[in-house]
């Protein structure tokens, strides 16, 4: 009898598990940058053509990021784990196709100007 924890072929061929790794060609860390869940990304320059050597997922990110989007949003819209999006964003950042903005650190949370801006924004919703 086969043990229950022995991986089966079916398990390893599960597309939900495989897809993120195929998309990144097995990479789990971005080449550059940290990319927090709420780091913001914005596409810069014109959309590269088909000969630029980019994957469809790269192009989808560039299309999505014509307006600033966070790593979490890109992951949700592309239905891929946040870790996969970090790797792809790293590629685009390397090619200067996106600019990125890190979120505020805990230290910056003492800035009264930020609190005023957030309060004004919420009040005008």
């Amino acid at each position: 009898m086969r043990g229950t924890d022995e991986p089966t072929d079916e398990h390893w061929l599960d597309p939900e598990i495989i897809r993120p790794y195929v998309v990144t060609r097995g990479r789990t860390q971005p080449a550059h940058g940290r990319f927090d869940l709420i780091s913001m990304a914005l596409a810069i320059g014109p959309l590269p053509g088909p000969d630029a050597g980019l994957d469809p997922e790269h192009l989808r990110i560039l299309q999505l990021c014509r307006e600033p989007k966070s790593v979490a949003e890109i992951a949700a819209y592309l239905d891929l784990p946040a870790g996969t999006i970090r790797v792809l964003l790293g590629d685009l950042f390397d090619r200067e196709l996106v600019s990125a903005q890190e979120p505020r650190s805990e230290v910056d949370m003492h800035d009264m100007k930020m609190y005023r801006a957030v309060l004004d924004g919420l009040r005008s919703l």
Binding site: I38, Q101, M109, Y115, L119
Partner: protein, 195 residues
Amino acid sequence: MVFARSERPRLPTAIKILVAGGFGAGKTTMVGAVSETRPLRTEEVLTDRGVGVDDLTSVEAKRTTTVAMDFGRITLGNDYVLYLFGTPGQERFWFVWDELAEGSLGAVILADTRRLADCFPSVDYFERRGTPFVVAVNCFEGSPSFEMDEVRLALQLNPAVPIIMCDARKRESSREVLISLVKHSARLRAEPVGS
């Protein structure tokens, strides 16, 4: 075409607020009520750095877990974007909270008066971590009504922690909760006592 750095449009800075509370307390409902889009879901693969495991004993000291989080977005002018993250409710995901809480403006703890005890772990967690938080009592129809003092007593809250009665389904009500959190966080962090 290459863009000069100065020509690049400025990116807004992202700020996050956590929405915590027991299962079914209305976290995703509140995120959806006040966000500009329907609640989105993201999956994060996180490393559990040996929680409750002696690192000397086994290779299992580092485990990875995939956690799904619901979140929403509120664009605040050109300079800021606010993200609301519903914290994963299960206790075994405590370590996830540390990554989420890092750099957050603060937390809303949603309390359901039918199961007030469900928010004890959240209160403990944010108190311990020093993250500013408010308690929002989600007033469901037919749920027992409590006075604010009773809730404060039951949760053993510091008198400075705001308690707000709310309806997490309503945009206006959820917005008031966020405003009260931002004011509270500003009082604690931007104008420290004694300065």
